[in-house]
């Protein structure tokens, strides 16, 4: 969780801030937009620089899982809702998109994925609005199981057994993004858009309201924060990110089955956010890179791969409670050391 250092670090008192004309309230002085631009440059560089089909495969997966993770950042990290349903919404987006885009353009599929995941997420959240914490988590777990059964059994919507092959690559304005490079740029555009939308939330009053809701709902309500709207809104929003990612996943893979959306995916999504650093919107991007890339790097150890990967996860989580973002920040502080006082720590994890 962000701000684990709070209470330990002395912070130099800043002079009273008076809003001058053109001055920006503190929450808008963060540099998320620079980060979004940096990711955009990185994605283009990777899309142009990578050459093997295998590397393109990893790159595509990283882009898609970053978007799911980013959605989960909104649901879990920012507004504190323990949801195992992110994988199910990912699946719903995938099936909805394939269903709606059959014989039509990809845009129909995307629109259907957004609309259907948003609607179902809203209906589900409204249904369980009285369950909190663990009860909410269990409800989302049940939802995931039901979703899997629906994917398998509702054949007119999915396919017999929930297995669909031969899904066409995405197309836009008559251009089909069929090559590895095209597809990477296409998916990268979605990640950049998702990051931009998230950054705009980070730089808005919505962030502080979500954090207040997360940290103490009752007090947030007595202060005047619209807790119900926040709760439903953030859940629907984050689930819709998952729906979009699912739609992209289906079209980039060309093949989906219910196994792609089993509970393991939900756990992986948790991992992506926690490993990357739950306190920052950049956490899911780093976490997804780790979860996609690291197991492949461990192929050389053969049958011990799962064991070593698991051990590595434990080491990262124990050694860096702030996740990979915390590690990056620590390295940054270490590099800046000796060049005057660095940025104060414990400012609420707004890397």
């Amino acid at each position: 969780m962000p701000g684990s250092e709070v209470g330990t670090a002395p912070v130099a008192a800043e002079p009273a801030a008076r809003p001058a004309r053109g001055a920006r309230p503190p929450v808008y002085r963060q540099r998320q937009l620079h980060g979004v631009a940096a990711v955009a440059v990185l994605v283009v560089a990777l899309a142009l620089g990578v050459d093997s089909a295998f590397s393109y495969g990893l790159l595509h997966s990283w882009l898609v899982y970053s978007i799911v993770g980013l959605g989960f950042y909104l649901v879990f990290s920012l507004s504190g809702q323990f949801a195992f349903s992110q994988g199910a919404f990912f699946g719903l987006g995938a099936y909805a998109s394939v269903w709606a885009s059959e014989g039509r353009s990809f845009a129909w599929g995307l629109a259907a994925a957004v609309a259907l995941t948003a609607l179902v997420a809203l209906a589900f959240a409204a249904l369980v609005v009285r369950s909190d914490h663990f009860y909410f988590a269990i409800a989302t777990l049940a939802f995931s199981h039901i979703a899997l059964i629906v994917f398998r059994e509702l054949e007119w919507f999915t396919a017999p057994g929930g297995e669909i092959v031969g899904i066409p690559k995405p197309d836009l304005f008559g251009h089909r993004f069929a090559t590895g490079q095209d597809l990477a740029l296409f998916l990268g555009a979605f990640l950049v858009a998702a990051l931009l939308l998230t950054a705009l939330i980070e730089r808005s009053p919505l962030r502080r309201e979500a954090v207040a809701f997360r940290d103490n709902r009752q007090v947030a309500a007595t202060v005047g924060v619209p807790v119900l709207r926040l709760r439903l809104g953030m859940f629907v929003l984050g689930s819709t990110y998952a729906g979009v990612a699912g739609c992209l996943f289906a079209h980039k893979s060309g093949f989906i089955s219910t196994e792609s959306f089993a509970l393991e995916l939900g756990i992986d999504i948790f991992l992506i956010v926690l490993l990357g650093g739950a306190g920052s919107m950049w956490g899911p991007v780093l976490g997804a890179a780790f979860v996609v890339w690291m197991p492949e790097q461990l192929r050389f150890v053969g049958e011990y791969r799962a064991l070593i990967y698991g051990a590595l996860l434990v080491v990262v989580v124990v050694a860096f409670p702030g996740g990979l973002v915390g590690l990056v920040e620590a390295v940054g502080r270490w590099l800046r050391r000796g060049r005057g006082p660095g940025r104060p720590v414990g400012t609420g994890g707004r890397a």
Binding site: P2, G3, V6, G7, A9, V11, A13, E14, P15, A16, A17, R18, P19, A23, R24, P25, P26, V27, Y28, L197, L200, I201, R203, S204, P205, L206, R208, E209, V211, A212, D215, N216, Q218, V219, A220, A221, T222, V223, G224, V225, P226, V227, L228, R229, G233, L237, G346, T347, G348, G349
Partner: protein, 255 residues
């Protein structure tokens, strides 16, 4: 009446924590509420602020407000502080105060994504008000620090600033002096005493009788979930039933 609670009752199983309490706070009035531990003071406050389920009727600033709805009570003009200060530790002090601003335009997704210029404009106004509120409690120089770094007394002050930033018609304070040293208590009393003149009515629960006497025009004494006495502070302390209920042992020793 700025605050009128009628027949407020809270039952936890067979326990009648609050058993039909009537209480009214007039415009510009400061009412103190005292009573031994377990007499139902805090539960009564929780009931009128919508935090626990209760029966009865509630009016804030002349408007009927449903019980059990913290948001509705807040919108009607009642703000509260808690027995242990409840600040959002990971937010900065100014963000804590900004949460309570009554101007809620462009605070949602539309403000974040669509109407950002309007959001910035509003936010600058909210920011100026929040700095003023922090200034009032002496925390303006801490505006951009996480609330978690504040001392206990400062957290109390921050909570108070947050409550006042919402421009309430009535402020309900639950043991605001608990955990404060003498100097801090004096500062707090001075601040609270100014409120009625500024149009904020006050309902203060506290254990320190001299503090209550300094802040409140009128005192209500509770015991076992009921109001047993009400009147001017100096006069109420002398009543037999109050001495017996609240200061039982000292009363017995003195007689």
């Amino acid at each position: 009446m700025t605050l009128r609670a009628t027949g407020i009752a809270v039952h936890f199983g067979a326990l009648r924590a609050v058993d039909g309490v009537d209480l009214a706070v007039g415009p510009g009035e400061a009412v103190g509420m005292v009573g031994p531990n377990g007499s139902g003071k805090s539960t009564f406050l929780n009931a009128v602020t919508g935090v626990v389920t209760a029966r009865g009727a509630l009016e804030v600033a002349g408007r009927r407000v449903p019980l059990g709805r913290p948001g509705a009570v807040r919108r009607a003009g009642l703000a509260r502080t808690f027995q242990t200060p409840q600040t959002f530790r990971e937010l900065t002090c100014i963000e804590n105060v900004l949460l309570a601003d009554r101007d809620r335009h462009a605070t949602g997704l539309a403000g974040a994504w669509l109407v950002r210029p309007a959001m910035w404009r509003r936010e600058r106004e909210r920011w100026a008000r929040a700095v003023a509120a922090l200034d009032r409690v002496g925390l303006a120089d801490r505006a951009e620090q996480p609330a978690g770094l504040l001392s206990y007394g400062q957290q109390r002050m921050l909570e108070l600033a947050r409550s006042l930033a919402g421009e309430p018609a009535v402020l309900v304070a639950d043991e605001p002096s608990a955990g404060l040293d003498d100097a801090e208590t004096a500062d707090l009393a001075r601040l609270l005493r100014e409120l009625p003149a500024q149009g904020v009515s006050l309902l203060v629960v506290d254990h320190k009788l001299d503090f209550i006497e300094e802040v409140a025009d009128r005192v209500v004494v509770m015991q076992l979930g009921r109001v047993i006495a009400s009147g001017l502070p100096a006069e109420v302390w002398r009543r037999d039933e109050v001495v017996e209920a609240y200061l039982g042992r000292r009363g017995a020793a003195g007689s």
